[in-house]
């Protein structure tokens, strides 16, 4: 399941809702991405996420389907926010639930690594010096690429 929304979310409530009535999932893995307080050495005042409505949902659905194809998963949830966020606020939530922890861990990492390089979101950082668009990182491309050709684990 995927959701793209402006408002924040309650991690505990999301997990409880996702797993309600499910007694097959023995392992639940959660990744929560948050806004950091520093951007290139300067104090971050806020971060604004722009996205491409429609394509964002399609890309996240495709990634979700790919994860379900690669691993035996009971439940998956991706929530990604957009709009203006303050330091400490949640940006993205990935939850994967499986019978065993290996599939839950691997699928969770796959989803966060790959959504960073495929889902059409763009961050603009506000500091005292003004607002600037965040550049894509080569390390993120490498992390996503490591999942191609059925690789078992991501990261560099």
């Amino acid at each position: 399941m995927i959701r793209v929304q402006r408002e924040t979310f309650d991690v505990g409530a999301e997990i409880a809702s996702l797993c309600a009535g499910d007694t097959a999932a023995g392992g639940v893995c959660v990744f929560l991405g948050r806004v950091r307080e520093f951007a290139h050495g300067a104090a971050l005042q806020a971060m604004t996420l722009e996205h491409y409505p429609g394509m964002t949902e399609r890309q996240l659905e495709a990634l979700d389907a790919e994860a379900q194809r690669r691993w035996l998963l009971e439940k998956t949830l991706i929530i990604h926010r957009y709009g203006r966020l303050l330091p400490g606020e949640a940006i993205v939530l990935v939850v994967t639930a499986a019978a065993h922890r290996e599939a839950a861990f691997d699928a969770c990492r796959f989803l966060i690594d790959c959504l960073k390089t495929t889902a059409p979101f763009w961050k603009a950082e506000e500091t005292a010096a003004g607002s600037r668009w965040v550049d894509a990182r080569a390390a993120d491309d490498a992390a996503a690429l490591s999942w191609q050709d059925g690789a078992a684990a991501g990261g560099s």
């Binding site: 990744f31 929560l32 991405g33 948050r34 950091r36 996420l49 722009e50 996205h51 491409y52 429609g54 394509m55 399609r58 990604h80 940006i91 993205v92 966060i112 959504l115 960073k116 390089t117 495929t118 889902a119 059409p120 979101f121 763009w122 961050k123 603009a124 668009w133 965040v134 550049d135 894509a136 990182r137 993120d140």
Partner: protein, 86 residues
């Protein structure tokens, strides 16, 4: 009619987020559209000067420059994406 969308830094350079154009008959793919927009000038031409920093989607799927166009698609130009978390 063809819908062209611009996002993030590409939108700022283009000076608009969306425009609708009638595709000239000579334009048959994304590269042809880029060449036509460059020739037309203005913000979009400036935004599409350096294609190394631009990604393309046709009908909300990533596409290459040789992706064919018939004139009723939704084409989006945007910088490499930066969603997710650290």
């Amino acid at each position: 009619m063809l819908t062209i969308l611009y996002f993030a830094s590409v939108k700022e350079k283009a000076g608009c987020g969306e425009e609708t154009v009638r595709l000239p008959a000579a334009v048959t793919d994304v590269m042809g559209l880029v060449a036509w927009l460059r020739q037309r000038g203005g913000g979009p031409a400036a935004a599409l000067t350096d294609l190394a920093a631009v990604r393309v989607a046709v009908n909300q799927e990533y596409a290459r420059l040789d992706h064919p166009l018939t004139g009723d698609e939704e084409v989006a130009f945007f910088p490499p994406v930066t969603g997710g978390a650290p």
